[in-house]
């Protein structure tokens, strides 16, 4: 390297040319990888300081006692295992996430099909209307649902009263409250599935359907043998994504039931908030939220695998 540089100097001096050698320090700062590193540095710092560090810090916090003076090891975890509420939260989180994701996926898929069926120039309008729940901040739309579920003035109960049903204690009874939080989550989340499935439907080549029609497939067989296999990847990724987000949901349960009645609708997030922030037991709250981690990690691994596969197929 060095002799090349010397070579260059002598030659350019002789030729009086504009091509010039670059000094060591300047070269380091002009090097592509150096420039790139500095461009990505704010991102790296952000992730390191505000994501990775707190995640590790929360593991540390989870090993302290309530006043954070004393190291208790797995004390918080063993304490949680003895609490009935903890197991209820585990069950409710799973029930909530799985049920909601299944229904969101089904509604999204069916609705996407119908949108796909109508003439292209009208699709935009329908799509625009069906996506509104997903644009409204979830905390705000949940307020409306809270009002719709109001114990004394529920607009649902007003309608049901005409059929001599109810009044239904939407948020006051364990079963109904669980139903209510899932319903609101489905309402808010289904449009997301709809839009992704619609995009996926549009990417299935029309010739495949024409070939299938010539082969004598009926509508149902076309969905089963062409649409679903072609969309398998996007269905899986969307569902996994949604599983993570639904599992970690906070807004809806917090506003609609605040975990009640009797903690029966708490999810990890809302229970951790109640323990960690409201009851100021930060270590216990941190321990609860850490239980989300394994499930998130498993979903993340599957998503990464799918995305890598997609990448490999593309290349």
């Amino acid at each position: 390297m060095a002799d090349v540089a010397i070579n260059t100097t002598s030659r350019s001096a002789k030729a009086g040319s504009r091509a010039r050698p670059v000094s060591g320090v300047r070269k380091f700062f002009q090097k592509k990888s150096t420039v790139a590193f500095f461009m990505a540095l704010p991102l790296i710092l952000l992730i390191a300081i505000l994501v990775v560090y707190p995640a590790l810090y929360s593991i540390h916090l989870a090993t302290l006692n309530k006043s954070m003076q004393r190291y208790v090891g797995f004390g918080n975890f063993t304490f949680l295992f003895t609490r009935e509420t903890f197991w209820m939260v585990v069950r409710q989180s799973c029930l909530f996430a799985i049920t909601a994701v299944i229904f969101k996926a089904i509604i999204g898929f069916v609705a996407a099909h119908f949108v796909h069926n109508v003439p292209a120039n009208k699709q935009r309008k329908w799509r625009g209307m069906l996506l509104v729940p997903w644009v409204v901040p979830p905390a705000m739309s949940t307020l409306t649902w809270l009002w719709l579920f109001d114990p004394s003035y529920s607009a649902f109960n007003w309608i049901l009263a005409h059929f001599s049903i109810g009044p239904i204690p939407w948020t006051g009874d364990t079963g109904w409250a669980r139903f209510a939080v899932i319903l609101v989550n489905i309402w808010a989340g289904a449009p997301f599935f709809l839009i992704l499935y619609l995009a996926a439907l549009k990417s299935v080549p029309e010739q495949l359907y024409e070939a299938a029609a010539i082969d004598g497939c009926n509508w149902w067989q076309r969905v089963w043998f062409i649409t679903l296999p072609m969309m398998r990847n996007i269905i899986a990724i969307t569902a996994l994504f949604s599983l993570i987000v639904t599992f970690a949901n906070f807004d809806i349960v917090r506003i609609l039931t605040a975990g009640g009645p009797l903690d029966s609708t708490h999810l990890f997030a809302t229970w951790a908030f109640k323990l960690g922030i409201e009851s100021s037991d930060i270590p216990l709250g941190a321990s609860v939220s850490l239980f989300m981690f394994p499930i998130l990690a498993i979903a993340a691994i599957f998503i990464l695998r799918d995305i890598n596969q997609r990448g490999n197929e593309a290349s």
Partner: protein, 304 residues
């Protein structure tokens, strides 16, 4: 004779078959519209009910009349909220937080995405995966350690972040930057490699290539990422609920819930008006920039 009979027989049958096909298609379309209408009702009645309630007086809300109809429409709820300095303070806080977060997000994620998409460096592939994984980490996993971190930060430096609106400017980028970077990596990667090589041959530095070629060419992606960052900041609920309590520091969603709900007294007319007003900015952006909005929020799949 026989010939004519055969033709006669074949003719109508074929015709019937044709008619039945278009017939089928017409019915499929009708069914589609029917079900789409049902879906539209399901998805739109809560926002509609928000509007209905916001137009009522508290007297009418508590009266035993049809809740789905406005008998005496009034704008008094809007007047009262828009005249309340407290509500305007929430709005202003939300706007300041969201705008700051959008700017910070773009300043961090555009150069980072450019570096990750174009200028391979040691560990860049790992970092790209890391960015994606970070995006998968939900707010509900981090709010407790962050809360404690800010408290400790105060103990060491004397700078109090908690209970100030700008603490949100610090934490929101953890939600927006990974995804915005992810979107931008996708957009930048779709720009042909020859374009930056041409720029380099033209004598541009990497920074000039980014600012004068990539940013203008990937503008749709940048708009999408901006909208995404704005929407996420505007709608965030958990962090402000955990990190801010003083009324003057609250942002819209938390402000509405903590100030308009006083104990067990729900002033529903005002709550619905507040909800509607705070849903308005994203809805307006959505109405005008629907395609960017959708492409931004679906580019790598997001919340649902």
């Amino acid at each position: 004779m026989t010939m004519a009979a055969t033709i006669d027989k074949a003719g109508p049958r074929r015709k019937k078959k044709l008619r039945s096909m278009s017939h089928d298609r017409k019915w499929a379309l009708r069914w589609s519209y029917f079900f789409l209408t049902l879906f539209a009702i399901f998805f739109l009645f809560p926002p509609l009910y928000t509007v209905i309630t916001s137009l009522k007086t508290s007297g009418e809300i508590s009266a035993a009349v049809n809740p789905w109809w406005v008998y005496h429409p009034t704008l008094s709820n809007y007047k009262e909220l828009l005249g309340s300095s407290q509500f305007l303070r929430f709005f202003l806080n939300s706007a300041m937080v969201s705008i700051c977060v959008v700017i910070i997000t773009m300043l961090i994620s555009i150069p980072a995405a450019f570096a990750l998409a174009r200028m391979k460096f040691w560990g860049s592939a790992t970092l790209a995966t890391g960015v994606f994984l970070t995006y998968l980490i939900p707010d509900s996993l981090l709010f407790i350690p962050l809360f404690k971190m800010f408290a400790v930060f105060h103990d060491y430096t004397g700078i109090q972040l908690l209970n100030h609106w700008y603490v949100l400017v610090v934490v929101y980028p953890t939600l927006t930057v990974p995804f915005a970077t992810w979107i931008m990596i996708g957009y930048f990667a779709s720009i042909p490699k020859e374009l930056d090589e041409a720029a380099i041959m033209d004598g541009a530095t990497w920074m000039q290539t980014l600012l004068r070629i990539f940013v203008p060419v990937a503008l749709p992606g940048i708009i999408a990422a901006t909208i995404f960052a704005f929407t996420v900041s505007w709608a965030q609920f958990l962090y402000p609920l955990a990190f801010t309590t003083t009324t003057s520091e609250l942002v819209l969603p938390v402000g509405i819930i903590t100030t308009l709900i006083k104990g067990d007294v729900f002033n529903w007319g005002q709550i619905m008006t507040g909800a509607l007003l705070s849903a308005a900015p994203p809805l307006i952006i959505y109405a005008f920039l629907m395609d960017y909005y959708i492409s931004g929020l679906t580019a790598g799949a997001t919340k649902g």
